[in-house]
Each structure stands twice: as C-alpha cells, then as structure tokens.
C-alpha cells in the first residue's frame, strides 16, 4: 500500500529546493537518461512478455470453452463443437496457441495487427479499439480530476494538520477507499441520477436546503482558511451569506433549468482564477505575473467573442482542440512578453490561466445549451450506457449528452482515487514539511506561500508521481466493475465476456491494453522523476 519505498533513491539531507539551470544539466548529461529509458523499456517488455504467458495459460485453463455446446441439445451440436475447436485451435497445445497469438501481436510492429478472433469469430482488434476508446475516455477524465482535487486536498490537510478539516477529509478518504464500488454505484444511481432527474423537472431548491448548503460552505471555508476565532467567524458568515444569496437568486431566475453564464461570467471567473493562480505560483507581489494572467484573460475573452460564430454552430472536436492549443501557446507567449526577471514563472501563471479561461469558455457554451438539452432529454442524467441511443442534437447538446452519461462513473472513479491521492499527498507533504531545508527556508524569511509551493510541494511531488502512475493502470483494472454497473461497453466488458467464454483473445487484448498503459505510465513517472529531481539525472 505504501508506495514511497518503491524506488530506492538516496536522499541527501542537504537538498535545497531546485536548481533553475535544469536545461544545462540535462543537455550535458542527456545520453544517460536516454540509455536509462531504453533499459527501462527493455525490462518492461520482458516483464510484459512473462505476464502475457501467465495470463494466457491461466485463461485457457480457467474452464471449458465447449461447456455451453456440450450442454446444448442442438441437432448439429457435434458440427458446432468441431467448428469451435477448429477456430480456437483447442486441439493444439498451449504454447502453440500462445505462439499463434504472440506472432499476431508481433505483426503490430510491421503494420498488420492481428489480435485473433473471439469465440464467435469476431475480430478482436476492432472490438478492442472501440472498447479502449470508451474506457480511456472514462479513465483519463477521472484521473485528471482526481489528481487536481486529491493533491489540493492533500496539501490543505497537511498544512492544517489536526484541524477539523483535516479530520473530516481523513475520515472521508478512509470511507471512500473502504467503499465497495459496485455498492456505491447503485447508491449513486439512485441519489445522484434518479432523484436529481426528479428534482430538475422542477428545478427549485427548498429554502431549508439552501440554508444547510450555506452553513456547510461556511464551515468548510473557515476550516480550510483557519486563523483566529474572529477571523473564522467572519469567513464563515461571508461564505454563508454569499452562498445563500446566490442560491436564492438562482431559484428566482430558474437558473437550474435555464442557466446562463455569459461573457461576463467567463471574464469574472477567469480573472478570479488568474489572481488565485498568481497568488499561489508567483505571489501577488510579482506584478508582472499578475498582469500577464489578467492580459491572458482579456485576450481569451476577446478571442471568444471573435470565434463565437465558429464555436456556437456545429464546431468539430478537431477545431476545439486546435483552438485550445492556440490558446495555450498564446497565453504562454503573453507570459513571456510580460515576463521580465521571472519569465518562467509568468509563463507558467499565464499558461495555467489560459487553460482555465478555455475551460470557462467551453463551460459557457455548454451552459448556454443546457435548457435546449433539457428539452431533448427531460431526465438528463442517465444510469446506463455511454451514449443515449437515438439522440439527435446539435454539437453542444451531444456533448452535454456525453457529459451526463459519463458523469456518474467519473464521480465514482474520482472519489476512490481522490481518497488515495489526498492521503499520499498529505503524508508526503508532512514528511517534506519536517525537513531541514524547509526550516531553513522559513528562517530565511520566505513567505509561507514560497515555503509551501516551492520548497515543500515540489519535493513532495516526487513520491506522488509514482502513486499517480500506478493508480492509472490500477484504474483501468478497477474500471471492470464500474463499467459493469454502468453498462459501458469498454475494456471491462471485453474482459468479462472473454473470461466467461474461456476465450483467450479478448482477455489478452484487455491485458495488452492495461499492460501497455501500466508500462507507459511508469515510463512517464520515470521521466517526471528526472524532471522533478535533479539527483536522478546522473
């Protein structure tokens, strides 16, 4: 369970933050890194090969593939048995069948992939492509969400150790990773989907719900921000007032059924996010970073106004991705232009702000289409499937449909991962906060932000990367259950159907995808290690 010991790295005690001349170091010693990575890939390939033998043998020995035919009363039973025996090569030894499969997979390197056929003669390669696409969509989203939320929660709980907030998050984390996923899924279907769908038909909050939500928000915020008793009360009261007023206003505007966000919303939220990012990454005293962030927001909103006709009417995914890339490039360039003495910091700040602004623009477009979407699909959140059958809407309505379908499984997968990520981040942060270099940083008179973000957090990230990498691979495995409960046709279904039919081809396809994902993620973790920790780039 504890991943921090997975890679023995010799930590010296005198490590101070991070040297900024990273480029110089990696340029002069680029060769060993490449060698190291190649060696890792070689070792991983051997491990994958060994695991594939194990998996193949276990699968074909796990039952009798002819069981359903042996029990059937079909008049041409014997012919069917002979046909299946022929197709699955049941008369051959396991190594002949394995070799057959392996040479088919080996064909992938020469451009002619062959993952075999299922028990019914369907081409597995095709099935795998569809299944992997739908599973990866599910996993990627929840992994990203889980990293952001989990790491943030972990840092906050480490800073506010032994506060009410810490205890609440700790208990919830334990609760979530003790949760049987298949059981929680049914609860989620009932309370987050069915009850919500009933509620959205009216779309009004009862007054007491608003009061409770406001109280909760006030309690959470004061617990996170902390401070003296008086400051806490002020924080809680402000949060309570803000939340209740907003929710009552939403009720009055019928916002939940006919929401709007608008250019103003995009501008205000993105600007607030820009200020927050600056405060966290560079500190508000760094005016150049602040101006870079705000410029990015303004440029983003202007770009939104200019491209709006393109975006509202039937855009394509490719266009969206292209615009997103341009947005990131432009915002980084804005940061570089403002930069000055801390160019990299400004670039980072405005880059993050640019990403947030882009997300806000997409959110605005989605929100604007919510009411027409409700008209097409009156019970928006579905409990089953990855797409509503026969759903005919425009681009953004289809996007909303996909979003509402993916919502429940994503929440479930995210909750479990957030629990692990926040715990690991917390303990990793606590460990670094105890180090001498953090004490040194404090005694130099650095601000608390600099101590935590630059000195503690960057070092705490090193063990966290391992966990995230392991978790991604584990999530694909764990998605077997999530997919089953939510009726997704993904890798999990492929695996289960294959295993039930004692059919090695789909099972091995599942293994191939998860195994390669695991190897790739570990490789990414290694590279991230090298980027985060200069001691590894030897």
């Amino acid at each position: 369970m504890d991943g921090s010991n997975f890679r023995p790295v010799s930590y010296s005690d005198t490590l101070i933050a991070f040297p900024s001349r990273r480029r110089a170091a990696s340029a002069s010693k680029g060769q060993p890194v490449l060698k190291f990575i190649l060696r890792r890939i070689g070792a991983s390939a051997l491990v994958l090969l060994g695991a594939s033998v194990l998996m193949f043998v276990l699968t074909i020995k796990s039952g009798d593939p002819l069981q359903d035919l042996n029990e059937s009363n079909d008049p041409n039973r014997d012919a069917l048995i002979a046909e299946r025996t022929e197709r699955m090569r049941l008369d051959d030894t396991w190594y002949e069948r394995y070799w057959d499969w392996l040479s088919g997979v080996g064909g992938c390197f020469t451009g002619s992939c062959d993952l075999g056929v299922t028990v019914n003669g369907i081409d597995v390669l095709n099935l795998t492509q569809q299944a992997a696409a739908s599973t990866l969509r599910l996993i990627t989203l929840s992994t990203l969400l889980a990293i952001v939320v989990g790491v943030a929660l972990g840092i906050l709980t480490a800073i506010r150790q032994y506060s009410g907030f810490d205890y609440t998050v700790t208990f919830s984390a334990f609760l979530f990773f003790s949760l049987p996923v298949f059981w929680a899924a049914t609860l989620l279907k009932e309370y987050a989907a069915i009850q919500y769908n009933n509620w959205i038909a009216v779309g009004q909050y009862a007054p007491w719900t608003i009061v409770i939500v406001g109280l909760l928000a006030g309690f959470l915020l004061q617990a996170v921000l902390g401070g003296s008793a008086r400051r806490r009360i002020v924080t809680a009261a402000t949060a309570f007032a803000f939340v209740t007023v907003v929710l009552f206003a939403f009720n009055a505007l019928d916002w939940w059924r006919d929401p709007m966000f608008g250019i103003g919303g995009v501008l205000v939220v993105s600007a607030a996010a820009g200020v927050l990012v600056t405060a966290l990454v560079a500190g508000l005293r760094n005016r150049r970073a602040l101006y870079a962030a705000l410029t990015t927001v303004v440029v983003g909103v202007i770009a939104y106004l200019v491209t709006a006709p393109l975006l509202v009417n039937e855009p394509s995914w490719l266009l969206l991705i292209g615009l997103f890339v341009i947005a990131v490039v432009v915002s980084v360039a804005v940061g570089a232009a403002w930069g000055g003495y801390a160019r990299k910091q400004s670039m980072l700040v405005s880059g993050i702000t640019g990403v947030i602004t882009s997300i806000m623009v997409v959110a605005d477009l989605l929100i604007a289409h919510w009411s027409s979407f409700l008209g097409l699909k009156s019970r928006p959140i579905s409990t089953i499937g990855s797409q509503t059958p026969n759903f005919n809407g425009e681009f953004w309505e289809r996007a909303l449909d996909m979003g509402t379908q993916i919502l429940l499984p994503t929440i479930l997968l995210t909750l479990v991962s957030v629990a692990t990520h926040s715990r690991y981040t917390r303990s990793s942060m606590l460990e670094t906060l105890n180090q001498d270099y953090v004490r040194t940083a404090r005694s130099k008179g650095l601000s608390e932000r600099e101590v935590i973000v630059k000195h503690a957090f960057r070092n705490a990230l090193i063990p966290i990367t391992t966990i995230v990498a392991f978790d991604f691979a584990a999530l694909i495995g764990g998605a077997i259950i999530t997919e089953q409960v939510f009726g997704w046709k993904g890798m999990g279904a492929l695996f289960q159907d294959g295993l039930r039919a004692v059919d090695p081809a789909p099972v091995m396809a599942f293994f191939l995808v998860t195994g390669i994902a695991a190897v790739l993620m570990n490789l990414l973790a290694d590279i991230a290690y090298a980027a985060l920790d200069p001691r590894i780039r030897r």
Binding site: L54, S178, P180, V181, A474, I476, G477, G478
Partner: protein, 332 residues
C-alpha cells in the same frame, strides 16, 4: 532531536542498542516539557511504546472495538459449522413473511423475497467474507515477506528473479488475475478462493519488505551476526525480520481490507464465491435489483463490507502511526 527519537521507529528489543534508543526516546520526549507528565518518567520497551501509541489513537481503538463486535456477532449468532449459535432463526428456512419483509423486531434486517431471515443470511455472508479476508491476509503476508526478505537479503540473481516475478504480477491488473484465478478455483470452496487470492496480493508487501531488508542488512548488528558465523536463515528470521515487523504488520492489516473488497467485487461479478457458499458480495449481486422495492436487502451487506473495510483501514493507520511516529509529530 526528532532525528534521535525516530531513528528506530520499528526496532524491537532483540538488539541491546535498540532498547537503549527506546529508553532515550522517552527521556527526550519528556525532556522538552517543564514538568514531566505522570507516567512518563518510567521507561518502556519499544513494544510497549508501540502499544501505548496505538491505544492513544482513538480512531484505531474504536475501529478495533467495532471490528471485534462484528467478528463475535458474525460467528456466534448463527454458529459455525455444526456448532449452533444464539440466533433462533436459520438461514436456510423460509419463514412466513411479515408485510413486505421490511425490518421488524423479529427480523431486524428484514426478510428476503422468499421470506428467509436476512440477518442470518448476512451473518453467514459476513462469516465467509471474514474468513476469506483473513486467510488472504495471512497467505499474502507470508508469501510477500518471504519473497521480499530473500530478494533483499541475497541480492544478486535471486533478487533479479524474484523482483521480475513480482513485476510480472504487478503488471496484470489485480482484479483481472484474481478473476481468472477465482474462476478456476470457484469449485474448490472458499479456502481454495482464499488461497489463490493470497497468491496474487503479496506483491506490494514483497516490494516494501525488500526495501526494508536492503537497508537493514547493512546495519552493524547484521555484520556482527555474520562475524560470529550465524547462518543466513537465522539472520533473516532473528535479526532482520523482527526489525521490519512494523512494515509487515501495517501492510498485512491493509492487505486484509484489500482482500475483503477484492473478494466481494469478484463475487459480485460472479467470479468469486460460488453457490451454495455465500458472501457479502454475492448477496449484493443477488439483490441489487431489489434496491427500489426492498432497500434493506441492498443496504445491510454493503454496510457490513464498508464497516469491516473501514475498521481494518483505521486499525492499519493506527498501527502505522504507532510503529512510525515520524508523520504525526510535525508541530511539536
């Protein structure tokens, strides 16, 4: 100061030098405050310190009590095998249904669709799940400790082979290999299932133990033992492993909670416990369609799984704090 106090977080009193550190730890801890608290002027062995720290962890202590109650009730209420329990109803018999079978005083967990007493059914499922979880925990701990200790102690080709083998198991998703093995072992009853699950869940422990042994084998007391001609096996069992006991115990605890979730998930998918045996996972799988009409059939087994896993996780956390007090002392 904190460095000295924590230099041997998991040491045992097998080595004289470590007991000495244990005594120091208390002395230093008390030295900071002006008036030593009552009881802190006494010296404790490492083991006693661990026990004291564990009992001060309120969450872990309550979790232990709750888990104890669950275990006792699950095994005494309907009895084990031929031994009868104190609960008057039998899980095989169908009783007259009261209303739609909602929980009443007579049937505290309600009745299932056929009128069976659901309390007895859930207790039986809990028994099976607990047996599997503990058996898996024990097997995986034994295997993981053995492999990790051998790899860490001998290094060289032994380590290469053992650790590559571990990698092979790690690269296959746990649920997948468990499902395949569970399908194979399904016919052999719950102990067969527990055995195969134990044979796939040892990997993380093996890596942890190896890491621990790698650092322990360089310590002076191992050198001393080697110098007087102690055999490798004896060094591993008497000198190295007792010093890694903290890591092992914590990991064993957590593997029990992994095992209970793994077993229930497999049974839910139909690759785990096979009828006529039952487990909490099969109960949920059987009655999940009844959620809207008879929610109690769905709530109870899930709550039992949640309770057991939560308690075990809390106990594991308490043990980790007790064996390795570094993390919860950041601000003293």
């Amino acid at each position: 100061m904190s460095d000295i106090r924590n230099s041997n977080p998991d040491g045992q009193d097998f080595e004289p030098q470590i007991s000495a550190t244990g005594t120091d730890a208390v002395g230093l801890a008390a030295g900071g405050s002006a008036a030593p608290l009552p009881g802190e002027d006494k010296s404790y062995s490492q083991g006693q310190l661990v026990v004291r720290r564990f009992f001060r962890h309120r969450g872990a202590l309550s979790a232990m009590i709750v888990l104890g109650i669950v275990i006792v009730v699950a095994f005494t209420s309907i009895g084990v095998g031929p031994i009868p329990g104190w609960w008057p109803k039998d899980y095989t018999l169908q009783y007259d249904k009261i209303g739609d079978g909602a929980p009443t005083w007579e049937y505290p967990f309600g009745q299932d669709t056929g009128g069976k007493d659901y309390f007895a059914l859930v207790m039986r499922g809990t028994q099976f799940s607990l047996i599997i979880a503990f058996a898996v925990g024990i097997i995986s701990t034994l295997v993981g400790t053995l492999i990790g200790a051998l790899a860490g102690f001998y290094r060289g080709w032994v380590e290469s082979i053992l650790m590559r083998m571990t990698d092979v198991f790690i690269v296959i998703p746990l649920l997948a290999v468990a499902a395949v093995l569970g399908r194979m072992a399904g016919g052999n009853g719950i102990l067969g299932l527990a055995l195969v699950l134990g044979l796939v869940t040892w990997t993380s422990l093996a890596r942890l133990v190896r890491g621990e042994v790698l650092s322990l084998r360089e310590r002076d007391f191992v050198l001393a033992a080697q110098a007087v001609g102690t055999g490798a096996w004896r060094i591993i069992t008497r000198h190295v492993l007792p010093n890694a006991v903290g890591v092992i115990i914590v990991s064993a605890t957590l593997s029990i909670s992994t095992a209970i979730l793994l077993e229930t998930s497999l049974s839910f998918l139909g690759f785990g416990v096979q009828p006529p045996d039952t487990s909490l996972g099969t109960l949920i799988s059987e009655y999940q369609a009844a959620f809207t009409t008879r929610p109690w059939l769905f709530w109870w087994p899930g709550l039992m799984i949640l309770t057991i896993a939560l308690c075990v996780n809390f106990i594991g956390d308490g043990l980790r704090d007790a064996f390795d007090p570094r993390q919860n002392r950041s601000k003293d």
